[in-house]
């Protein structure tokens, strides 16, 4: 299938330029308005005051991308673009509020779900069929109303949770976008490729300022918006005709942030009895790797590497028939489970000063 290479290049270059130029302007604005991150909480890794608002240029670059397509490549414009812009705006407003005044997690989640339900009805972002492990699809009918908003909210929060180290969230989004771009490219999914080209462009530009040591943070406005574009884009391509969503591929690409989110959800469930479900903690994957003695740069690079491996796996997965794909997925899950066990073993080993940890010592990890 013929691919609009020039469009992808222009979108990526445009997003890169807009973000690269606007980030210093918003860094200045954040300092002027005192919208900054102070290293006051124990879970925060940085030791300096760092301005927020680095994510607003993502949003502006997105609006610019949509305008560019509408003006110069109308054949690739989609009816769902405007709903994405509107919901994206509301996400950014919510993120900005959170950056300044700290919105509670429960309220934020409810608002997100409300917005994504709106997107389900208005923008047509729905997954009425999901991939069957052995090939083909399963019709989920009305369950799509629950699954689709939850999927986008899951990706949004996965990106948000991974925004704990310099360059981590932006880098993971870049790697995921590159993998989804490659898969979309081989399948001729133009809209998905456009969105991923945009994500690659703006995250790469942002990394120039955000890689360790960071001079600006994207803040919740940026993390939520990036997660929203990434999550919604995985549904956008399939809404032509009947919404058929093969979520397995984006799920594998996004394994690192999604796994971290699921583990975080599990920890929160354990804390729920103390009424601390919505309280953030310092047990995310990157925190635990830091505690093992890795430097911030090493943690970030190893998570990039892990994410790139998953992206490559997803690429292979997308090219093989369903049953083989399922087998690869099972093997990957086993490999991840093995890594988690090894990580816990190393943690226990480090805690005990080089002696292997007794099995029962793992019980108090949470």
């Amino acid at each position: 299938m013929k691919q609009p290479w020039t469009l992808y290049l222009l979108v990526a270059a445009g997003a890169f330029l807009v973000t690269f130029v606007l980030v210093p302007a918003f860094r200045w604005l954040a300092r002027r308005l005192d919208v900054v991150d102070r290293p006051s909480e124990a879970r925060k890794v940085h030791r300096r005051v760092i301005p927020y608002l680095g994510g607003v240029p993502f949003y502006l670059a997105f609006l610019g991308t949509i305008l560019f397509i509408e003006a110069f490549y109308p054949q690739y414009s989609q009816a769902s673009f405007f709903p994405m812009c509107l919901v994206g705006t509301l996400i950014v407003l919510m993120g900005l509020y959170d950056d300044v005044a700290n919105m509670s997690s429960s309220r934020k989640l409810l608002l997100e779900l409300g917005l994504f339900i709106l997107l389900y009805f208005w923008g047509g972002f729905r997954a009425t069929e999901i991939a069957h492990p052995f090939g083909g699809t399963i019709h989920v009918g009305w369950l799509a109303l629950i699954l689709s908003p939850l999927w986008i909210a899951g990706v949004v929060n996965a990106v948000n949770f991974s925004d704990g180290l310099d360059g981590l969230a932006a880098g993971l989004v870049f790697v995921c976008a590159a993998a989804i771009f490659a898969i979309g490219f081989t399948r001729g999914q133009t809209t998905s490729c456009i969105m991923m080209a945009y994500l690659m462009g703006c995250t790469l530009a942002f990394l120039c300022y955000n890689f360790h040591p960071a001079s600006i943070f994207m803040g919740d406005a940026g993390a939520l918006f990036l997660g929203f574009v990434l999550g919604a884009s995985t549904l956008i391509e399939r809404q032509k005709g009947v919404a058929v969503v093969a979520l397995a591929v984006p799920m594998v690409v996004l394994t690192v942030p999604i796994l971290d989110t699921l583990l975080s959800f599990y920890r929160r469930l354990l804390r729920a009895r103390q009424g601390q479900f919505f309280m953030p903690d310092r047990d995310h994957l990157h925190h635990r790797l830091l505690d093992l003695g890795l430097s911030q740069r090493q943690v970030v690079l190893s998570l990039y590497y892990l994410s790139a491996c998953m992206g490559l796996l997803a690429f292979i997965l997308s090219g093989v028939p369903g049953a083989y794909g399922f087998l690869i997925l099972v093997l990957a899950a086993m490999a991840i489970a093995f890594c988690v066990v090894v990580l816990r073993f190393i943690e226990g080993f480090a805690r005990n000063g080089g002696r292997a940890a007794p099995p029962e010592s793992n019980a108090d990890v949470e």
Partner: protein, 352 residues
């Protein structure tokens, strides 16, 4: 500065950016919608309002050819313009199609069946098929049932004769030759071939490649292909290639078509979808069978779009557009598409 003031400032900046975006976006969007080829009916209306009836007719004919709308409105508009322009031959030729589309949009089942019969009869007055072999008549009946099942048509379809079934399939976008010649290729077909394709979902889906009464297709997603020898009618190869789920299927099909001997006859039917993993290489191989990029997808000519129906019979090495090719979209505006059929029928008596 209080947090409230900071939030107000930041929200104001964001809102101003979004307002500026809207100010630029909506005029561009309006222009895009106005010039979108899929909105050809609105374009024709504007031309008609400006007194350019012939241009409006041309725009509608182009649009119908490129989008094969499943709704009655574009056909009704064209019929009215033919009458206005005094082109009675075109008017009469189109009338059964309008009757058929109007019947499908009728919600009363009994009335719909009666309207379908009227449409078929109106068509038969213009073009009546010669007699066909009983196995071919049986296949035509099955195809007609598949076609009308999409709209919940009743038993009346089963009670119709093969001529009415043939008429219904023709006015639903079917392409048939009743002299045994494959399209414009000039190649005589040694057997009766009937192909039906239904892209889309649920009852829209169908795939049949009936060669002398035997169906070589099955209810399986992908492009069904049957290749056979034009001299002996021996089937050389038949298979289904799932271009939706299997990224390698397009390559395998392209290789098969590339290796097929020059002059062999190919019959193709899409079930569910045949576009997701379609490659340029495969498109070129299919075009070598005399097929054409007849559909307009994302403003570009394409052989098949997402969940389109595509039924075709061609000859390897034939010039482009010479094959028998019928197609329909999965959906046009608010109307569901339907299965389409094509076929080469030899006058009954000459059939083996």
């Amino acid at each position: 500065m209080t947090p409230f003031t900071r939030i107000v400032v930041l929200w104001a900046v964001t809102a101003a950016c979004f307002a500026a975006f809207n100010a630029a976006y909506w005029p561009l969007n309006a222009h895009r919608v106005r010039t979108d080829p899929a909105n050809f009916t609105a374009y024709a209306q504007r031309l008609e309002a400006n007194g350019r009836v012939q241009d409006a007719i041309a725009a509608l004919e182009r649009g119908i050819a490129a989008f094969r709308p499943s709704c009655a409105a574009p056909y009704e508009q064209l019929l009215r313009l033919y009458a206005q322009a005094g082109d009675l031959a075109a008017h009469d030729a189109l009338e059964p199609t309008v009757m058929f589309r109007a019947a499908l949009e009728n919600v009363d089942p009994d009335r719909r069946d009666a309207m379908l019969r009227d449409a078929a009869r109106a068509r038969l007055q213009q073009d009546k098929p010669p007699g066909v072999a009983p196995v071919t008549a049986e296949a035509l009946q099955r195809f007609a049932v598949n076609l009308t099942a999409v709209y919940g048509a009743g038993r009346a379809i089963l009670d119709m004769g093969f001529e009415e079934h043939f008429a219904l399939l023709s006015i639903a976008g079917g392409e048939f030759r009743t002299d045994g010649i494959i399209g414009e290729t000039g190649v005589a077909c040694p057997v009766d071939i009937l192909v039906q394709s239904g892209g889309g979902q649920g009852v829209q889906r169908a795939a049949h490649i009936v060669v002398n009464g035997r169906d070589y297709a099955r209810r399986e997603r992908g492009i069904h292909v049957v290749l056979f020898d034009p001299a002996t009618a021996e089937v050389l190869h038949w298979d289904c290639f799932d271009l939706y789920d299997d990224a390698t299927a397009a390559q395998r099909l392209a290789r098969l078509l590339h290796r097929a001997p020059e002059g062999c006859i190919g019959a193709f039917a899409v079930f569910d979808d045949g576009s997701v993993n379609m490659t340029e290489e495969l498109e070129i191989e299919l075009l070598r069978f005399g097929l054409e990029r007849a559909a307009l997808v994302d403003r570009a000519p394409a052989l098949v779009g997402l969940r389109h129906s595509l039924a075709a019979i061609g000859v390897k090495g034939a010039p482009r557009s010479s094959a028998l090719q019928a197609w329909a979209p999965e959906r046009f505006e608010t109307c569901d598409g339907h299965p389409v059929a094509c076929g080469v029928l030899r006058p009954w008596g000459a059939a083996s």
